[in-house]
Symmetry: C2
Subunit: 342 residues, 2 copies
Amino acid sequence: MSTTYPIKTLLDRVTAIFLRAGLNEVQAPALARVIVAGERDACTSHGIYRIEGVLRTVKAGKVRADAVPQLDPAGQGGIIRVNAAGGFSSPAFELGLPQLVDRARELGLAAMVVNDCTHFSALWPEVEAITDHGLAALVLCPSYASVAPSGGTRPLLGTNPLAFGWPRPGRDPYVFDFATSVAARGEIELHRRAGKPLPEGWAIDPEGQPTTDPVAALAGAMLPFGGHKGSAIGTMIELLGGAMIGDLTSPEALEFLGTTSLAPRHGELILALSPEKFAAGRPGNPFERAETLLTAITDQGARLPSSRRFAARARSQAEGITLTEADVQLLDRLLDLGLDAV
Amino acid sequence: MSTTYPIKTLLDRVTAIFLRAGLNEVQAPALARVIVAGERDACTSHGIYRIEGVLRTVKAGKVRADAVPQLDPAGQGGIIRVNAAGGFSSPAFELGLPQLVDRARELGLAAMVVNDCTHFSALWPEVEAITDHGLAALVLCPSYASVAPSGGTRPLLGTNPLAFGWPRPGRDPYVFDFATSVAARGEIELHRRAGKPLPEGWAIDPEGQPTTDPVAALAGAMLPFGGHKGSAIGTMIELLGGAMIGDLTSPEALEFLGTTSLAPRHGELILALSPEKFAAGRPGNPFERAETLLTAITDQGARLPSSRRFAARARSQAEGITLTEADVQLLDRLLDLGLDAV
């Protein structure tokens, strides 16, 4: 049995759950938007599944449910700075976005720094919010120590997502968003819940030995994607999205949190670039040149990243979002009990 | 038998070779600097080995030996624009660097676009030129179609290097610089020269089937590192370092060049970021926070990227650069014959 909701209905329902749990009028709807966007796009690891983690983090006192993000008036030049005030990253991002877009159009490129935020969401909603304005976007953040650096034996780096978007006028943007670990932590969690072994090469156990046991993997360390290259990119994300912006690196975030079962606190770095400014005065049109390349990828049978997600979105927009009976009951219970449900 | 040269002596000798081959007083010393830096750091694939490729590209008329790069006075905001005027990228980068550094310090971040350049060098010399000024650097460029996108069967992307640097006051910087293919094209070339098979997973043959034959690989396509994630990053580099900056993507560069045996023509994107600006007003020191992270990597026995290179550099600075007899004879022949040697 399953139930199908119009997107708007599910959005209202998830917002009500967050309000019931004590999140304020700034936090609740912003969080609901990213969670429903995940469910809409069939990204189960960033959909309804994430609500309980959000509520557990609130209940543990590790995030401020009443936070009101502040746009730093000292932000100038190419840097827009938003302090999430100990709340979630999503409302802080929404607050800074208009100024980021303006500044990138003016200067050619600009950065938004979000500090003091708790982060649980995918990065593609932010990437797409920027590509919607005709700008390219590069977004990254640490998470908490759970990945061993290449050649190492212990968790140090986070799963450190990297996301990028390129605007395609009149079409879905080119978007990727992935963990710099072989797998996202959520995928290992889903294997654990399903009682399924992990593919080889995903993780090492607490003794630093290869393992396919999701429980041992969660107690040990995940591995970076692509060997030393992915490890280097994960390290870059610690440096740019942690040290550089004056916020926590993944080991510092784990120390702050004391557990890997709650959403981590740290900062986030968002870059926006204007193809029109960068290509000004040059022959050819940057968007047409990009289309030629992207078409050549699909013409040889390769798939663009996010294409399954955009297909799921189109279905959800036409037909609504279908939830399993278990998810419907979960939502009912969360709305009924609030923080007592977790 | 081998010969050891002081760095300066080798620099003069390589400069003389380029002047003998007809490169002007702007191109020759800038090229010699990056080639000798490669040899000094024991990066054989970007050292002396590259000289013949440079000369072949000059002889084929695919690069202007007399080019004088121009700093675009219209470059403003966060974008510094240098036109290489059909010459090599290195002198164009050197021309724009002071303004890039100034602008990044002023705005917090800035970009240098190099257009209309021929590119053969590693990216780490440019990264290190930026970290020398206390700034973080991200550098990328397309190359020419030689890598199949993940799930594809034919060359489309370039080996598209990505390089990053973080300044470490009083120490060698944190630097990585790698091809987004599993291997650099130069490594496959070296296997071909040595008559050695490739490791599995590096390449596909002209029919799209896996191969370990370097000749078949060079005729077919290389594979991206890290599967679909590396493929996505390689595509991002085409979009940012090609389409966005109004310059050639890798398939366009191959079409322009007509061969993969000469150095490709395209553009390059260089980002510089100021940790001091990004961390301003935040608790803690970004450089100290970075040291804590980097020390934790080496403390668990993992190696930082470029550490072998820096060790080789220290040896070369103390003892000079030792060349094989074959390389010494090659240099003699190139100095004697100029373009007639290739």
